[in-house]
């Protein structure tokens, strides 16, 4: 193993790997946040009285959980732009447009992350005692106020541990986006391996960087949990 290949600058791959690592953090963060948006919508649909909404949300979580993420990435990569253009043409919009790889990846990983977050958020909402909402109603809060003041802060606290797990899954899944060409950590490691013929050196480096990101962000979630639970009485 030749560690001089990892130096920072034009002669080594250290700077490329670092940039790749930043790209990985960026795509993971965006996908995770998009996933939470998907999850809130899907959880609301699952908790609604409307059977069509419940059905749609169940189809979403079932399909995503049953199909490999790699396949979803290929499918969206090849199909989403085409589908959107076909729709746009129906409305008379004929100019070409397409999704950048970053957005494609974000949608795929976000959809996957969202399907797993849905249950966490649904569970968190159900964990809020009914009496609290009744109390809110009794003092004359309207629906929005109850949502922001009672539901969101408490559900967020209940959901944090589960979301912490999903963040880790999401972060790891982003490695798959390298197969469609996003210049993330994994892709940089592949390029460097091919160019230097030292695959172990670079995939091992990628492994270590992923490990560090996972561990550091994991500490972040522990910290956030402690903060969210301040003032909560412990039994």
């Amino acid at each position: 193993m030749d560690f001089s290949l990892l130096v920072y600058g034009d002669s080594g791959w250290g700077d490329e790997m670092l940039v790749g690592g930043l790209m990985t953090i960026a795509i993971a963060t965006c996908s995770f946040l998009l996933g939470i948006v998907f999850a809130v919508i899907a959880a609301a649909a699952k908790l609604s009285q409307n059977i069509a909404f419940r059905g749609l949300a169940t189809v979403y979580t079932t399909v995503i959980r049953g199909i490999p993420e790699l396949l979803i990435i290929y499918l969206v990569f090849f199909g989403a732009g085409q589908l959107m253009r076909n729709v746009a043409v129906l409305f008379g919009y004929t100019e070409y447009f397409d999704l950048p790889v970053f957005v494609t990846g974000m949608i795929c990983i976000g959809a996957s992350s969202g399907a797993y977050s849905t249950e966490v958020i649904r569970g968190a909402v159900l964990a809020i005692p009914k009496g609290q909402l009744e109390a809110g109603k009794a003092i004359g809060m309207n629906k929005w106020l109850m949502f922001w003041r009672i539901l969101v802060p408490q559900a967020a606290r209940f959901a944090l541990p589960g979301l912490g797990n999903i963040w880790q899954v999401t972060l790891k899944e982003t490695a798959l986006i390298s197969v469609i060409g996003l210049a993330d950590l994994m892709r940089k490691a592949s390029e460097a391996s091919g160019s230097t013929k030292e695959p172990f050196t670079f995939y091992f480096t990628a492994l270590v960087i992923f490990y560090v990101i996972t561990k550091v962000s994991g500490r972040g979630f522990v910290f956030a949990e402690a903060r969210a639970n301040r003032g909560v009485r412990r039994a």
Partner: protein, 279 residues
């Protein structure tokens, strides 16, 4: 309905709009970035290679503003059809199979396919009667060489990059007798050849010659004949959507001009180490 159309249009505009004007002022060219010396990345992460230099020259000739984008080989034709970009310059051979889906400019480089093995391989001494096979119409002598090739590699594992003319050749000619292993990138195939996971690798001579001359390829050896025609196609050209025939004609004219004024030959010699330019 109108409102939805507006929203759709607005949503569309927010995404990277790479609209192609019909009179071709700005175009986007896709390359793979993992197929040296045609197109690859230097350690500073820049795209370089024969096709990058050639694209620059051709675009200047056609007075086009060109953007080069990277695209994984796997989806390179579907994405062209999806209009992700307008032109493919990625060491892609002109074949009948591909012509069913897209069109090509004239060829700008001609590159025989050849087998490579490691120097310590039992096949390092493999030769055939002819040094070059043209497979458009197979003569008796060429048939004998192909049979020898099949007999030599019978039951062995041969690696090849997926969706290439070389894969076509292996499947058509040797498919029943060898174990074909396909790779997403040529670089991964090289790693496995050196690791001894495949007994031989088939790829373009244009790729092998510079590689074997460098440190990275010092333990590899070219064996057998150089093969062209038939499943290998008719040289390498720029892949373009069928509806953009006009653009393909512009590329053909520009390539002809680059051949005529003597630009192409030194460019090919610079990157390949031999004259791989089209004549």
């Amino acid at each position: 309905m109108k409102k939805i159309a507006l929203i759709a249009a607005a949503a569309a505009l927010t995404f990277s709009a790479q609209a192609v004007a019909q009179d071709y002022k700005k175009i986007t060219i896709a390359t793979e970035g993992a197929y040296a010396p045609w197109n690859f990345k230097d350690s500073a992460g820049n795209l370089v290679g024969f096709e990058l230099d050639l694209a620059k020259d051709l675009c200047a000739r056609m007075k086009l503003e060109c953007t080069i984008v990277e695209q994984a080989w796997d989806g390179i034709i579907p994405s062209l059809q999806a209009k992700k970009y307008d032109v493919i310059m990625a060491g892609m051979s002109i074949t009948a199979k591909r012509m069913e889906t897209i069109t090509f400019s004239r060829d700008y480089a001609a590159t025989p396919g050849s087998f490579v093995v490691t120097k310590d391989s039992p096949f390092a001494g493999f030769t055939t009667g002819l040094a070059a096979l043209t497979l458009d119409e197979v003569s008796a002598e060429e048939r004998a060489d192909l049979d020898k090739m099949i007999a030599t590699f019978k039951g062995k594992t041969i690696g090849v990059q997926t969706s290439t003319t070389h894969e076509n050749f292996l499947r058509e000619i040797m498919g029943d007798n060898v174990d074909i292993r396909t790779y997403d990138t040529q670089e991964n195939l090289d790693l496995d050849l050196q690791a001894g996971r495949v007994d031989a690798a088939l790829a373009s001579m244009s790729y092998w010659v510079p590689l074997l001359a460098s440190d990275k390829g010092s333990d590899m050896k070219l064996v057998g004949p150089g093969m062209t025609g038939g499943p290998f196609g008719a040289g390498v050209g720029a892949g373009i959507r069928k509806e953009d025939q006009k653009l393909a004609d512009m590329f053909t004219a520009a390539i002809n001009a680059a051949i005529a004024d003597g630009t192409l030959k030194p460019l090919a010699e610079k990157w390949f180490g031999f004259d791989a330019s089209a004549k």
